[in-house]
C-alpha cells in the first residue's frame, strides 16, 4: 500500500520544500508528479480566504488519496492544503504522487486534484478592493469529479 501524507496547513505551504522532501525518496519510484494550486490574479484581488471543516476535511482528503492509491500503482501520495488567508501567487494546495511509472503518478495527481476541488469540504472567499464574495462552484469541476466517480464505480463493479 502506498504511503499517504495528508496535512491541513494554517500557516504556510512551501511547494519547493515539499518537492525536495519527495524527490529521490522512493527508490522504486522513477517518477514524481506534483501539482501546485495557487492564488490566481483577478481584478481587485487582495486576498483569498479558505475555510474548512475541522474533523472532516482531513478525513475527506485521506479518502481521496486512498482511492488514488487503490486505483493507480503509486508508492506515495501527498496532499497538503492551506486554509486561512492567502495572497496573490501563494500556494493553496500541493498534491504529489511517486510511482514506478510516470503515467500512474500523473494520473493519480490529476485524480486527487480533481476530486479535492469538489469532494473535500473547503470554501473559498475572495477579498477584493470592493468587498468579499464566496467563490461559486464551477460546473467543470463538478463534471471532472463525476467523471472519476463513474469511472471508479465501473471498475469496482
Amino acid at each position: 500500500m502506498a504511503d499517504i501524507t495528508i496535512e491541513i496547513l494554517h500557516e504556510s505551504l512551501d511547494p519547493a520544500a515539499e518537492t525536495g522532501a519527495l524527490a529521490g525518496r522512493d527508490a522504486s519510484a522513477g517518477g514524481l508528479a506534483t501539482f501546485v494550486g495557487q492564488v490566481r490574479d483577478e481584478p481587485g484581488l487582495k486576498a483569498l480566504e479558505l475555510e474548512y471543516y475541522p474533523g472532516v476535511t482531513k478525513q475527506a482528503l485521506q479518502r481521496i488519496a486512498q482511492t488514488a492509491a487503490r486505483r493507480w500503482m503509486i508508492a506515495r501520495a501527498v496532499i497538503k492544503h492551506r486554509v486561512g488567508r492567502m495572497t496573490l501567487g501563494e500556494p493553496i494546495v500541493f498534491v504529489a504522487a511517486a510511482a514506478a511509472h510516470r503515467r500512474e503518478a500523473l494520473d493519480a495527481v490529476g485524480y486527487m486534484i480533481d476530486m479535492l476541488k469538489t469532494e473535500a469540504p473547503f470554501w473559498k472567499r475572495v477579498h477584493t478592493d470592493t468587498g468579499a464574495h464566496w467563490v461559486e462552484a464551477v460546473d467543470a469541476d463538478r463534471d471532472a469529479a463525476d467523471f472519476w466517480m463513474e469511472e471508479i464505480a465501473s471498475e469496482d463493479a
Binding site: 476541488k117 473535500a120 469540504p121
Partner: protein
C-alpha cells in the same frame, strides 16, 4: 429531539448565524423534513433546500436525505470549492 445545526460559509452569511441548537417537534426524521421545518420559521432557510447543498452529519459527509437522531450535529454546506 435535540439537534445542533451549523451553517457553513455562504450559508452562514445567508442565515445570519453559524450555529443553532434546536429542540425539534416530533416527526422530523430526516434532513429534508428539517429543512421544511426551518423554512416555515424563516424564509432564508429556503437556500438550504437547493440541491447543491451538501450535508455533514456529525463527522461525515452524507448524502441527502440524511436520517437524523437525537443529539446529532448537522451542517448545511454550500458546494465545496477547494484546491
Amino acid at each position: 429531539m435535540k439537534l445542533t445545526v451549523r451553517y457553513v460559509a455562504a450559508l452562514r452569511d445567508r442565515m445570519g448565524r453559524a450555529e443553532a441548537d434546536l429542540d425539534l417537534p416530533e416527526g422530523i426524521a430526516d434532513s429534508e423534513a428539517l429543512i421544511g421545518h426551518l423554512r416555515a420559521a424563516e424564509p432564508a432557510a429556503e437556500a438550504l433546500s437547493h440541491p447543491s447543498v451538501r450535508l455533514i452529519l456529525n463527522d461525515a459527509i452524507v448524502p441527502r436525505p440524511a436520517p437524523l437522531s437525537d443529539g446529532d450535529t448537522l451542517a448545511f454546506c454550500p458546494p465545496f470549492t477547494g484546491g
